[in-house]
């Protein structure tokens, strides 16, 4: 019963955050949703989404504004570090930018990096874990030793080293892709470790032994019996990997080594929160809540899938 609650809460949190992130250009924009122009009603918000430049020549009067009527990059120097108010729900930052707009847009970066990094981690971790668990013997020994060696380093430390040493081609990539790749390099370890255990378990299961006894070859075993059973563990690790990557991206941006400003990111906003910790609590509180909910959602979803598919772990 508890596992159902985990699954639902996690899925709801993530769907909610993803919806907000997807809709961010419409939710938080200084272009009005509807405006009355010279030729009747127009929608500058949708217009700017389609790449049309806002027309400054024709006078338009806003009829309907976005719920957060600020763009994340809009600087208002007379509105620097204002506490939450009716004008700026979550306050403004050190350049007078609206915190709510930046939190909403920051989710796009965090979730994109999280998904891409998890994908990269799966691409490396899944084959290694599967081969180690399924083949056993020498293959397993070699892979397990490597995993053990890399496990001796905290993931954050590894990511920082790779960033510091990143070769030119990596440093030249767009930030989101670069960070996702770096986090993939460090994120495959837990994936491989968990999947190795799961493949080992599946290989030893009665179902697979029975299939083998009835003469199934490697190919048939893997495709018909092992892969379907392995789908659940893969989903579980994917969920945890996204959560871990979101957390790591935020940590890197917090340290000033992640996605660079002015792109809004939750970690980058918390970095500014640190600068103004004495005076402006809202700069620390709100981006952190968003980050917390995203990571919590991933973890709950992962736990939920695990418990749902494997009743034995339900303690």
């Amino acid at each position: 019963m508890a596992s159902r609650a985990n699954l639902r809460t996690g899925a709801a949190l993530l769907l909610g955050l993803a919806a907000v992130a997807l809709a961010a250009p419409l939710l938080a924009t200084d272009q009005p949703w509807l405006a009355r122009g010279a030729h009747g009603l127009v929608s500058p918000a949708i217009g700017s989404l389609l790449g049309r430049r806002p027309s400054s020549r024709t006078a338009e009067t806003a009829v309907l504004r976005a719920p957060i009527p600020y763009s994340p990059g809009r600087v208002e120097l007379e509105e620097i570090r204002k506490p939450p108010s009716t004008a700026h729900w979550l306050g403004t930052d050190g350049l007078g930018r609206d915190v709510a707009a930046r939190v909403v847009h920051g989710g796009r970066v965090s979730l994109t990096v999280g998904l891409l990094a998890a994908l990269a981690a799966l691409c490396v971790g899944l084959p290694l874990g599967a081969v180690a668990g399924y083949r056993g013997g020498w293959t397993d020994a070699v892979i397990s030793r490597i995993v053990e060696a890399v496990l001796c380093f905290p993931a954050l430390l590894l990511a920082l080293v790779v960033l510091a040493m990143s070769p030119g081609w990596l440093a030249g990539l767009p930030d989101v892709l670069r960070i996702a790749l770096v986090l993939g390099v460090t994120g495959w370890i837990p994936v491989a470790r968990y999947l190795r255990g799961e493949f080992l378990r599946i290989r030893g299961s009665d179902m697979v032994s029975a299939a083998r006894a009835s003469g199934a070859g490697h190919g048939r075993l893997v495709v018909r019996h092992i892969l379907p059973s392995a789908l659940a563990p893969v989903l579980v690790t994917a969920a945890f990997a996204v959560g871990a990557a979101v957390l790591m991206e935020a940590a890197l941006s917090f340290l000033g080594l992640g996605v660079r400003p002015p792109t809004p990111t939750w970690g980058g906003m918390l970095n500014e929160g640190k600068t103004y910790v004495m005076s402006s609590w809202w700069l620390s509180l709100f981006p952190g809540i968003a980050l917390f909910l995203a990571v919590l959602g991933c973890n709950l979803l992962g736990e939920g899938i695990r418990d749902h598919l494997d009743p034995r772990t339900d303690r």
Binding site: C152, L160, V161, P167, A250, G256
Partner: protein, 330 residues
């Protein structure tokens, strides 16, 4: 308890040494990802080669063995490490081992205090939850665990600072000691340092407390339902003796191995916590070295943390064998 047989522990130390070799590979390979090398490759403003005349670059390359083939470089690096020589910092030219030594104390203190706090808080919490499954304590620690896992350390640090330092003004905001600490007597000065460490330690340990308490709960629950405890209960032992005489003894064995796995988290946490609270420890030094692309310092610190963690894991495994007769004989 008899002396453990040599076979298994010796084998564990053997695989540990093998892993140590792999650890040095990881460090070396990571730091040689850049084609060319750290001195002469063009990394923009940050690189040393950018600012120096060519003959000085050649000199530096020779100093760091960068004019040798990679395999030889690795061999020379290993030989230097074995002699305790970690090279010199690109940034200020001081020996890396000296720089590390100067800051080791703070980070070790921070981590030791955090580990102690974890155990002191998590064991009773986990035990309370295991003794009364479904009770308020159990449900509370369960929910708190999920929540705490998802709280980023740097966010927790900021919130603690805002609450305890800015609003309540109970504790200092950051730093190692107050500006006027030198004028204080010995005891007030120790108290001042202690006050500066409260929030960092709290920050570094909350995740472990959450994790460890669930782990203690799971293991105690298992041993409380095991044969040994059932037999003891049948003999009429009091609940207290059941718990401390039997269940805990059994549950402490898997807890040992966990301690080894908590170490990487602590090291990673130190990087963040020392940044948030402006503490001059190894973690902060690492971030600075990354910004400065100070390769010898990065390599030294990475190697140090990897080796420390490995020793922790192997030591935990060995202790496990001492305490668990089944493993010892196996």
């Amino acid at each position: 308890m008899s002396v453990p047989s040599l076979g298994r522990p010796a084998r564990r130390v053997g695989t540990g040494l093998l892993t140590l070799l792999l650890v040095t590979w990881v460090v070396f390979l990571l730091c040689h990802l850049v084609p060319g090398d750290a001195v002469s490759v063009d990394l923009g403003e940050e690189s040393i080669g950018h600012r120096l005349p060519p003959e000085r670059v050649a000199e530096l390359r020779a100093l760091y063995h960068l004019d040798q083939p990679v395999v030889r470089q690795y061999g020379m690096w290993l030989r230097d490490i074995a002699r305790g020589d970690l090279g010199r910092s690109f940034h200020d030219g001081r020996p890396v081992s000296e720089k590390l030594g100067a800051r080791l104390g703070l980070t070790v203190t921070l981590n030791a205090l955090s580990l102690a706090l974890m155990i002191v808080l998590a064991v009773p919490l986990g035990a309370a939850a295991a003794l009364k499954p479904g009770s308020r304590a159990d449900r509370w620690t369960g929910a708190a665990t999920y929540a705490l896992y998802a709280v980023p350390v740097f966010w927790a640090g900021l919130l603690l600072q805002i609450l305890f330092s800015v609003r309540l003004e109970w504790l200092p905001l950051f730093g190692l000691e107050s500006p006027d600490a030198r004028a204080l007597g010995v005891l007030p000065r120790i108290a001042d340092r202690g006050a500066h460490l409260v929030l960092p330690v709290l920050c570094l340990s909350y995740g472990g407390i959450a994790y460890l308490s669930r782990f203690v709960r799971a293991n105690l629950t298992e041993s409380l339902h095991g044969d040994a405890v059932r037999a003891a209960r049948a003999r009429g032992l009091s609940p207290g003796r059941l718990l401390f005489g039997h269940a805990f003894r059994q549950a402490s064995v898997p807890m040992l191995t966990l301690a080894g796995f908590l170490l990487p988290g602590l090291v990673g946490g130190s990087v963040i916590v020392e940044t948030v609270f402006a503490l001059p420890g190894l973690g902060r030094m690492f971030v600075d070295a990354v910004f400065q692309r100070d390769v010898p310092v990065i390599m030294g610190l990475t190697l140090l943390s990897g080796t420390a963690t490995l020793i922790g894991i192997v030591a935990a495994d060995l202790l496990y064998a001492v305490f668990d007769p089944r493993v010892r004989r196996g």
